[in-house]
């Protein structure tokens, strides 16, 4: 690294000492450095003002601040209603299908003599055809 090299050179052959001078000046003028002022560029205020305007415009008007929680609450209620309706509808539909297409109905409607066997391990009812 360039600075490591420079530092090594510096340590091998120190330049005329000057740091104490800086420290002395910092002691004498540290306060003026701390409070140093400079006239800001003329165009800075325009830029700051423009940035502030764009930030203000991107935020909703305070008059509508009440609307945000109301909308959030309404959205939550609507979501819950849709979810519950869907779940209830699906359960009802599944139950209906199961009752119509279940093995018992199928066996009853079949011409082949069949026997229902309950498989307790799988908690299912299986249909076994009985040879004529």
């Amino acid at each position: 690294m360039e600075w490591t090299k420079k530092l090594a050179e510096y340590q091998a052959d120190p330049p005329p000492p000057a740091w104490n001078e800086v420290e002395k000046i910092l002691q004498q003028q540290g306060n003026s450095l701390y409070h140093h002022t400079a006239p800001p560029p003329n165009e800075s205020w325009e830029a700051i003002s423009t940035k502030l305007s764009s930030i203000e415009n991107s935020q909703p008007s305070p008059a509508f601040n009440w609307l945000r929680p109301v909308l959030r609450y309404a959205a939550m209620v609507a979501f819950l209603a849709i979810t519950i309706t869907t779940v209830v509808n699906n359960s009802f539909r599944n139950a209906l299908i199961e009752s119509l297409q279940g093995p018992g109905i199928k066996a009853a409607l079949s011409d082949t003599p069949q026997m229902l066997i309950k498989d307790s391990s799988k908690n299912k009812i299986q249909v076994k055809q009985i040879p004529r």
Partner: protein
């Protein structure tokens, strides 16, 4: 148009919190020269100083509601500008670290007093420092923060802060030495 009348801080803050652009401008006019002075000390060039000034003032106006009136308003603003300057260079640069050993070996010898260096000269020299060195130098030598505080502010180790400061000293010493040689 810059206003000649500079109100007191409480009135300015209240006006700015209400979004009054006249009060915002007055607050800017009152503090911009001081804050630009800080920006120049932390920046490598006037373009960077301008960017820091703009970002700093936007932060001041946006966060004005968070100012607790228990401390000095100028001190609060100053911290915002210092932090903005640190962020500015954190985005741009990596700090160069040297070992503690190297820091200890940097000589600190007696010197002949040259009283010709003014604050302006020092600021010009400071602005020429590499970014990491300049920030640490400003925070330690001018603002008076400890290396521990600087480490926290800049998200670096205390040792790195010390080494950056040591390097800044060596750099300035060399520059002033060269400057004196040129004059002689």
């Amino acid at each position: 148009m810059p206003s000649n009348h500079l109100s007191n801080d409480d009135d300015l803050i209240e006006g700015c919190l209400l979004g009054n652009p006249v009060m915002q401008r007055k607050l800017y006019d009152k503090y911009a020269p001081k804050m630009y002075g800080i920006c120049l000390r932390y920046a490598a060039n006037t373009e960077d100083a301008k960017d820091i000034l703009q970002d700093g003032f936007v932060k001041v106006f946006v966060n004005l509601g968070k100012f607790m009136a228990t401390g000095s308003f100028e001190g609060w603003m100053r911290r915002i500008f210092v932090n903005t300057a640190i962020e500015h260079y954190r985005k741009k640069n990596q700090l160069y670290a040297i070992s503690e050993n190297q820091e200890e070996n940097i000589p600190n010898q007696e010197v002949s007093a040259l009283d010709e260096l003014e604050a302006e000269d020092i600021i010009r020299l400071i602005s020429e420092l590499p970014n990491g060195y300049r920030t640490v130098f400003n925070l330690f030598a001018v603002e008076g923060y400890s290396h521990k505080e600087i480490a926290t502010m800049m998200n670096i180790s205390e040792g790195t802060s010390k080494s950056q400061y040591a390097r800044a000293k060596a750099w300035l010493q060399e520059k002033i030495g060269n400057r004196n040689q040129d004059k002689a």
